[in-house]
Symmetry: C2
Subunit: 326 residues, 2 copies
DNA sequence: GACCTCCGTTAAAACGTTTACATAAAATCT
DNA sequence: AGATTTTATGTAAACGTTTTAACGGAGGTC
């Protein structure tokens, strides 16, 4: 691969001149400029971005850390981030933390070692105070971290929308079926919003926390059946993710139980799958969250002010799983 | 951020010693080793990977180019790639080409400029001969490119499986409904395999090519209805992607037409959505394709031999959309 | 002609590493 | 004890850029 030296030699100028032409700085006569362009062309020259980054102390790389890549929420997020990043001249270094605290910490360190200019972090676990002192701008998604800028959606309102929707279906004892979450996650707000709104509306909500294991090992439908056994009075369902709801609704177990016809259901996320299965859901503007995070982190990189906290709106998408109960 | 110089000064040794300790090379007395470790600890030192890459002429970065990030096929692929890459000490630089030829070329050049050690490329469009001369190892997914190693699945067999399945449903005039594809894409083989197998079985297949636009602008169900109007004799459906099939099956238009009850349907890909909607499909081992591509590219990086061509098996997943016609 | 200014260019020192080579000290052999 | 090997360390030149400071020449002013 040709280097700046080769170009300089070929064009019979100094490397400084070539560099200045590449970066449009300093005065350059039109003649040399053309000569150098020609040489670049001839040698098929591309500057070595690593050398550049080293010298300029700026890599134009944004690091992204997600728990999973293929989970639809995250893949949309990544797509959004890449779209605004690439449009503003940044590249993406992608890491997967797998919901593992140690891995997450390691990924941040790895990105720092790779001198990324900024980091977008979807942290789900562990103590986040370690991120406070960092000099590289970090944007956290869906988790408030002291000192970092956070982008999230209005989970509390989303939860309350779900409650209202079940209320209009005539529910008295809606069952909240979703992961037990640490307080510090914004997602927890959707549970809180739901439960509080239920009480405000005079309903008597039930809560059946599920563990992450059930989701991955395919016993989730089973536990729903179990929970309905336990809470005989349950007359409505709030399942806190579309994917969870899809797994449950399409399981032979729940189909046999005629679940879909017996209980109104509201899910959460607004992913494609909810549309395919005609599930009422609370839609989050996932794409916008990603875009906002990317914009924020770039602001930070450029030394401009970042928001401390951005919250995007959510909305109810009314579909069959509640409509047919009205 | 502390550099190797700071560590050297702090430990009162030369930077060469620190470097040697970092890389476990050359003899080092236990005493200095401990001293240096302590200094690294104290200064919270992390080597600058860009400087390292520059010097060693090896970045430990693999570039990945996909048309879209959020399309499930690709997000699974990326997840698989990242899994084996990170396990072998490589990082990922992720690019989105958006099915755009110019962008794709630009992305390859960009990755070269960033000195990635290898590239995994999902090329869908344009003339691929430009990639032939490259010195960086490139693995192409689902597209044969002269001189590069290719990883794909047995599309021809997949197509023929679909034909057989429709045959056992008693079809005589199955309709192939899928994107019109350039010859050079392996995906085209699934069309060929389907059509040829149909003829071998004595069926008389129909073919309605769809354009990419219909998929994105939501008129896909409409065109299916149109195609069925045109081919009144159609008595079975092969839709060449799960997502397409899902869009069609869940559209109000086709629901009204009672499509699902009238025509047996085989889709393609084996994505989650096919399970949710209980669609018979041909499953591709997407994860394994990604893993294989990553392994191959790493082989190439290490100067070992790469396969010229790897083909993974596919399998029929029989579900409701054909079962109920048997 | 001496002095200044501007313009175009270059030489050389960074950026943070690795590594070939040199060297000093310690250990082993006569 | 001296010669030789081995072990541990340091010096300095790379890697491919950017950028500061310096420089030579052209043109203008006095």
């Amino acid at each position: 691969m040709a280097t700046i030296k080769d170009v300089a030699k070929h064009a019979d100028v100094s490397i400084a001149t070539v560099s200045r032409i590449m970066n449009n700085r300093g005065p350059i006569s039109e003649k040399t400029r053309q000569k150098v362009y020609a040489s670049m062309e001839a040698l098929n020259f591309r500057p070595n971005e690593m050398a550049r980054a080293l010298q300029k102390q700026k890599s134009n790389i944004i690091g992204v850390i997600v728990p999973s890549i293929q989970y639809p929420f995250f893949s949309i997020l990544i797509e959004a981030i890449e779209e605004v990043a690439s449009q503003k001249g940044y590249k993406l270094m992608l890491c997967r933390s797998g919901e593992d605290e140690a891995r997450e910490i390691e990924m941040v360190a790895l990105l720092e070692g790779n001198k990324v200019d900024g980091i977008i972090l979807c942290s789900r676990v562990g103590d986040a105070t370690i991120y406070e002192g960092k000099k590289v701008p970090i944007v956290s998604i869906d988790r408030r971290i002291e000192g970092l800028t956070t982008v999230t959606t209005d989970n509390y309102y989303g939860g309350s929308l779900a409650a209202k929707e079940l209320f209009t279906c005539g529910c008295q004892h809606p069952l909240l079926f979703g992961s037990k979450l640490p307080e510090y996650l914004e997602m927890n707000e959707r549970n809180r919003g739901f439960l509080e709104e239920c009480r405000r509306l005079g309903m008597d909500p039930l809560y059946y926390p599920v563990s992450q294991d059930m989701v991955t090992d395919g016993t989730i439908a089973q536990s729903l059946i179990a929970s309905l056994d336990q809470y005989q009075e349950a007359d409505g369902l709030f399942i806190t993710s579309d994917v969870l709801a899809a797994e449950i609704l399409t399981s032979p177990l729940t189909k046999a139980a005629g679940l879909a016809d017996r209980l109104p259901l509201v899910a959460y996320d607004g992913l494609e799958v909810s549309r395919y299965l005609d599930i009422t859901t609370i839609e989050q503007p996932v794409y916008e969250v990603g875009a906002c995070a990317a914009e924020q982190v770039i602001q930070g990189i450029q030394g401009k002010m970042m928001h401390a906290y951005s919250m995007m709106p959510v909305q109810l998408i009314e579909r069959a799983t509640t409509k047919k109960f009205k």
